[in-house]
């Protein structure tokens, strides 16, 4: 019993240290305003702070099984992640739409990408009834993209809105999302989000092959 407990503790420590010791992004300028991941960078809006997690993986329940999906993700919040967040994510081509088990292809049109993304989100717990309020073409870093505005009610009946800009290329599927309650927060901080979208830049690292699943992550698959 004791050995089992110690093993579980070691796995936990390995998982935590695995996340913290190899961040894929850093704040690069003196004023700590530019957040850089391995494959993208952006200017963090005034007053916003990155969250402590430097995510290189995510866990999803797919077909009733918990699965580890590799990705690059940076999140920032001004008033707390429980209230609102801006999340920038790169998903690798093979696991671009993990909940519906679809890959991304560089020749996908933004409308196709938007449709797949919505289907993928609707497979997530709590988002089954996600409504699409608008879906229109956009540009991110000079690339053809979609802009989706979606809404759902959380467990407390609060209307939460997500605006998402996204595009695919041969290095994967990129999303820049802002998620906030429609009550007060969404409108107040949308301008900050729009600035961040305009500052988004792809970096050379995006062309590197995706990393392998670390040993500790396999504990979760």
């Amino acid at each position: 019993m004791m050995i089992r407990k110690i093993s579980a503790l070691l796995v936990l420590v390995a998982a935590v240290s695995g996340c913290a010791s190899k961040p894929y992004w850093t704040l690069t300028d003196d004023a700590n305003k530019v957040a850089q991941s391995k494959s993208f960078e952006m200017t963090v809006p005034e007053g916003w702070n990155r969250t402590t997690a430097a995510d290189t993986w995510d866990q999803l329940t797919i077909d009733d099984k918990v699965q580890t999906v590799l990705l690059e993700r940076m999140a920032a919040s001004r008033d707390g992640t429980g209230i609102h967040t801006i999340t920038v994510t790169r998903r690798y081509p093979d696991t671009a739409f993990p909940a519906i088990k679809k890959k991304s292809r560089a020749n996908m049109l933004p409308l196709e990408v938007a449709d797949l993304y919505v289907s993928d989100l609707r497979k997530r717990s709590g988002l089954e009834r996600l409504k699409v309020l608008s879906n229109k073409p956009a540009q991110v870093n000079g690339k053809p993209a979609y802009q989706l505005v979606m809404e759902f009610k959380n467990e407390d009946g609060l209307r939460v809105r997500i605006v998402s800009h996204g595009f695919v290329d041969n290095t994967g599927f990129y999303t820049i999302n802002y998620r906030a309650p429609t009550l007060y927060y969404y409108e107040r901080d949308y301008g900050d989000y729009a600035k961040l979208v305009r500052s988004f830049r792809l970096l050379k690292g995006a062309f590197d092959p995706p990393p392998k699943v670390p040993g500790w992550a396999k504990e979760f698959t």
């Binding site: 049109l109 409308l111 449709d115 289907s119 709590g126 009610k153 467990e155």
Partner: protein
């Protein structure tokens, strides 16, 4: 044979009454005003659940279809007019359920698969029987049934309501079958099609290997029940209302919308099953081929691109005014480098699509990029 079948059904029923306390059934709407404290509490819970469903936007907004379903219910049970309320529930899962307070919910997925009014009446009569026979009150609710709602994305707080969705015990379901069948015949419907509802759904469960909460499917005796319905109907002298024409007229938009939602929720197998099956497809509008094309595009397996193109071309031929088809055909030709064809299809889309169509701004962008 008929007597033996009812004997079997009654034997289930007697067993049920012995263990559930045997509350007497309602005979009309005024009976329902004199329920005891415990049952009133159950109704209160159910009303709360009605409110939750309404507030969460899960009532399907089609007044014509809702009025039609209510009219069928009122024809079946005129003595409960105003008490049994039928709602259309915005889910493509093949299900229908009754709450303890007389609210009946019918999923659009099930409406899309039913072929005529007599089949609709079979399900409505069965669900109303659960209310009239006070099955929720008689059945102890099992917490394990909660999983039935979890997959529908319904925020739930009422375990009593949950039992209505995931099904009652075998004896109560049998009683609802028996009472529902009697009422179906009494109301002038042709019962010879009744078994087809269960048969179609059983076939689909098998084909899709689905694990969803499903009308009647959790009961192991489904096939026995199909046979029982068949044999009972065989003794019917014939005649009675089928109501196929009116049913199909009212349900056409719902069928198309159910396909659209199935594609959106990545239930591609279901769309392909329906649109590739001659028997099922004949009740769907021709524009359903567009969603078949969408399903193949998204599934993206070997030869699916070709199958998708064929489906879009069939949609173009059989439903020439359905604008979304032209967008997809335009996208196909744009990707394959045929700019002239792509522009023709995109321009046709822009001519046919409403000014606020979802894809219009994308298509305008494609046209600009091709010029």
């Amino acid at each position: 044979m008929n007597r033996i079948l009812w004997l079997v059904l009654t034997s289930f029923l007697v067993g049920g009454c012995a263990t559930t306390g045997g509350a007497s059934s309602f005979t009309n709407a005024s009976d329902t005003t004199t329920v005891g404290e415990n049952e009133r509490r159950l109704w209160h819970e159910a009303s709360g659940f009605d409110t939750t469903i309404e507030r969460s936007g899960q009532i399907y907004d089609d007044r014509r279809a809702t009025a039609y379903l209510q009219s069928v219910m009122d024809r079946l049970y005129p003595e409960f007019k105003g008490k049994i309320q039928v709602h259309i529930y915005d889910s493509t899962q093949l299900n229908a359920f009754a709450l303890p307070n007389g609210s009946i919910y019918f999923n659009i997925g099930l409406l899309a698969r039913i072929e005529n009014e007599a089949q609709l009446a079979t399900v409505l009569a069965h669900e109303a029987a659960h209310f009239i026979e006070r099955h929720s009150f008689r059945q102890r609710v099992s917490a394990k049934n909660a999983s039935a709602f979890a997959v529908s994305g319904i925020p739930f707080s009422s375990l009593a309501a949950i039992s209505s969705v995931s099904g009652f015990s075998r004896d109560l379901e049998t009683e609802a079958d028996q009472k529902g069948y009697e009422r179906l015949v009494k109301s002038g419907y042709d019962p010879r099609d009744a078994h087809k509802v269960f048969q179609t759904l059983a076939n689909e469960v098998k084909a899709l290997g689905t694990k969803e909460p499903y009308f009647f499917s959790s009961h192991p005796k489904l096939l026995e029940r199909i046979e029982a319905y068949k044999e009972l109907a065989a003794t019917h002298k014939g005649g009675g209302r089928l109501g196929a024409e009116e049913y199909n007229r009212v349900m056409q938009p719902i069928r198309l919308d159910a396909l659209r939602k199935d594609v959106g929720q990545d239930r591609l197998k279901s769309v392909i099953l329906v649109m590739e099956d001659n028997n099922l497809r004949r009740y769907y509008p021709a524009a359903g081929y567009y969603y078949l094309g969408e399903a193949y595009t998204r599934r993206d397996q070997k030869n699916d691109a070709q199958k998708a193109l064929q489906a879009f071309q069939t949609a173009e031929k059989l439903s020439p005014n359905f604008a979304p088809t032209y967008n997809r055909l335009g996208m196909h030709y744009m990707k394959t480098g045929n700019k002239i064809q792509a522009l023709q299809y995109f321009n046709k889309y822009l001519r046919l699509a409403p000014s606020d169509a979802r894809d219009r701004s994308y298509v305008q962008q494609y046209v600009s990029s091709l010029k």
